[in-house]
C-alpha cells in the first residue's frame, strides 16, 4: 500500500502533505471562481464575463488578486483592531483543517483519522467563530447583524448536516473517510458489483439534506442572509478590504470545494473506481497509478457538485430569516432523524 511513499523520510512526507494541502485548497478555489463565478454566471445572464486578461479572461483572477494585494490594509477607526485582523485567518484556517482529512487516493491522504467524518464536522464549525467576531469587531451595525445572522444560520444547519452524515456512517460501519470510500467501491447493488454501491443510491435523502445544509453553511444564495447585499451592504464583510477581504473570498470558495470533496467521498464513492473493474480485493491490492488518477476523479466529482451548488445560487432568490430557521428546524432535522431510523432498521434487517 505504501509502495510509492514508504522510502521517503518523515519530514519530506510531511512537507509534501502540507504542499498538497495548499494545492488542494487553492486550485479548486481558483477554478471554481473562474469557471462558475466568472463564466457560468455570466452565461446564465446572457453576457460574456471577463474577456480581456488572458485567453477568454482566464487570467482575470490573477489580476484581481494582484489588485487586492496592493490595497492598503484598512480598518475602521473604532474597530477592535486585533480581533478585526484575526477573524479572516480563523475562517481560512478552519478550511485548511477541513481539507486535512479528505482522502484523494489509496496513499494520497494528508491524515488518516479514525473518526474522519466527525473531525470534519467539528472543525467546519470553527469558522462560525471567525465570522461572528469579524461582525462584532468591525464596530458597524450592519456587520454585527450579518455576523449574528451567520451564527444563527450556521448553528441551525450544522445539525441536519451531522444527522445526514450519520446515515452514511451507519451504512458503512465506520467514520474513517478512507474506509467509507472502500466500503462503497467494494459494495454491490443486489449482487451486481459493476458500479460498487455509491451511497447516493441508498442514502439519497441524506444526500439531498447534506447538500442543502452545505449550501446554507457556505452562505450561498438562497441562504445568503449574512451578506445580503440589499439589506446589510455586505454583512460581516462590509468593513474588510484588500488582502483580508481576499482571505474571506478564498475561504468562501475553498470551503465550497472542500465540502464538495467531502460530499463526493461520502455519497459518490470518493477517489475510487469499483474495485471489481481491475480485480482489486482490498485497499492494499490497489495499483499505484490510483494515486494519480484518484485526485483527478475527486476533482471531477468536486466540480460536478460545485456546479450544482452554483446553479442553485444563481437561480433562486433569498429566503427570509424566519423561513430559513423554520426550514431547518421543522423540515430538515425531522426528515434526517427519520432517515437515520430507516437506515438503522434496514441495516439490522439485512
Amino acid at each position: 500500500m505504501l509502495g510509492l511513499i514508504a522510502d521517503v523520510s518523515y519530514w519530506t512526507q510531511s512537507l509534501l502533505r502540507v504542499f498538497g494541502g495548499i494545492v488542494a485548497i487553492l486550485l479548486p478555489a481558483g477554478t471554481i471562481v473562474y469557471v462558475f463565478l466568472f463564466k457560468m454566471m455570466s452565461f446564465m445572464q446572457s453576457r460574456l464575463g471577463p474577456m480581456e486578461a488572458g485567453p477568454f479572461g482566464s487570467l482575470q483572477l490573477f489580476a484581481e488578486v494582484g489588485k487586492w494585494l496592493q490595497k492598503e490594509d484598512l480598518y475602521p477607526e473604532r474597530a477592535d483592531r486585533f480581533i478585526f485582523k484575526m477573524a479572516p485567518l480563523i475562517v481560512l484556517s478552519s478550511t485548511f483543517l477541513l481539507v486535512a482529512v479528505v482522502p484523494f487516493g489509496p496513499d494520497a491522504w494528508f491524515t488518516n483519522f479514525e473518526a474522519g467524518v466527525f473531525y470534519a464536522l467539528a472543525v467546519s464549525s470553527v469558522s462560525v467563530l471567525g465570522i461572528l467576531i469579524a461582525g462584532w469587531a468591525s464596530a458597524n451595525k450592519y456587520s454585527l447583524l450579518g455576523g449574528l445572522r451567520a451564527a444563527g444560520q450556521l448553528i441551525a444547519y450544522e445539525l441536519p448536516m451531522v444527522l445526514a452524515v450519520v446515515g452514511v456512517v451507519i451504512q458503512a460501519g465506520t467514520m474513517n473517510l478512507q474506509q467509507i470510500v472502500v466500503a462503497q467501491n467494494t459494495g454491490s447493488i443486489f449482487g451486481w458489483a459493476g458500479l460498487g454501491n455509491p451511497y447516493i443510491l441508498t442514502q439519497c435523502v441524506g444526500f439531498v439534506i447534506f447538500m442543502i445544509a452545505v449550501q446554507a453553511e457556505l452562505t450561498q444564495a438562497p441562504f445568503d442572509m449574512p451578506i445580503a447585499e440589499s439589506e446589510l451592504v455586505s454583512g460581516y464583510m462590509t468593513e474588510y478590504s484588500g488582502f483580508r477581504f481576499l482571505i474571506f473570498f478564498i475561504g468562501e470558495f475553498a470551503t465550497a470545494g472542500v465540502f464538495a470533496f467531502i460530499a463526493s467521498v461520502l455519497f459518490l464513492g470518493g477517489w475510487g473506481v469499483p474495485f471489481s473493474w481491475f480485480g482489486w480485493t482490498s485497499i492494499d491490492s490497489i495499483d499505484n497509478w490510483m494515486n494519480v488518477v484518484g485526485p483527478l476523479i475527486m476533482f471531477t466529482k468536486m466540480m460536478l457538485l460545485v456546479f450544482v451548488i452554483m446553479w442553485v445560487r444563481f437561480s433562486y432568490p433569498r429566503f427570509r430569516e424566519d423561513q430559513l430557521q423554520r426550514f431547518a428546524w421543522k423540515s430538515l432535522i425531522p426528515l434526517s432523524l427519520v432517515n437515520i431510523m430507516a437506515t438503522s432498521v434496514l441495516k439490522v434487517a439485512f
Partner: protein, 164 residues
C-alpha cells in the same frame, strides 16, 4: 513519553495563562475568546493522551456550539468594543480561596487515585468503536440517565421561553 510530556507542559502553560486572562481581561468578548483558547488547549491535551474522539467532541461541542452561543448571546445583549470598567465584580476576591480549594481537592483526588501510575509507553489511539461499545454496554444506564437529564433541561428551557 518525553515528547508528550514537553507538549503537555507547553499546552498546560498556555491554558493557565488563558484561564487567568479570562477572569482579568475587561471586555466580555475578549474574555470569551480567551476561554476558547483554554478549551482548545483541553482538546489538544486529549490528543496528546491519544483520546482522539474526546478531543473532536470537545471541539465540536465547546468551541463550535457552546462558545458560539455564548458570543451570540453577549453580542445580542451587550458587548461594547473597548474596556469596560464595571465588568469586574466587587466580590471578585471570593473566587481566589474557592479556586485554591478546588485545586487542592482535585490534586488530592488525582494523587490518591493514581499515585505514581504511568501511562503505557506507546498509548494506542482509543478507537471510536471501543468507546461506543462501552457506552452502549456496561455504561448504558448512566448514559440513559444523562440523556434524560438533558431532555428535562431542553423541555425546561422551552417552558421558560414560551410566553403562552
Amino acid at each position: 513519553m518525553v515528547a508528550q510530556n514537553i507538549a503537555f507542559g507547553i499546552v498546560a502553560a498556555v491554558m493557565v495563562w488563558g484561564a487567568l486572562r479570562v477572569v482579568t481581561v475587561n471586555n466580555v468578548v475578549h474574555a470569551a475568546l480567551w476561554l476558547v483558547l483554554v478549551l482548545a488547549g483541553a482538546a489538544a491535551q486529549y490528543v496528546i493522551l491519544a483520546a482522539e474522539f474526546v478531543a473532536i467532541t470537545q471541539v465540536l461541542v465547546y468551541i463550535g456550539a457552546v462558545m458560539v452561543l455564548f458570543l451570540f448571546g453577549t453580542m445580542l445583549t451587550r458587548a461594547r468594543i473597548g474596556a469596560e470598567r464595571e465588568l469586574n465584580n466587587k466580590s471578585w476576591w471570593l473566587g481566589v480561596p474557592s479556586s485554591v480549594l478546588l485545586l487542592g481537592v482535585i490534586t488530592l483526588a488525582l494523587v490518591s487515585g493514581f499515585g505514581d501510575e504511568e501511562l503505557p509507553k506507546d498509548a494506542a489511539v482509543v478507537s471510536t468503536q471501543e468507546i461506543s461499545d462501552l457506552i452502549f454496554g456496561p455504561y448504558l444506564l448512566p448514559f440513559w440517565a444523562l440523556s434524560f437529564v438533558l431532555l428535562v433541561a431542553v423541555i425546561g428551557a422551552i417552558v421558560l421561553a414560551r410566553k403562552d
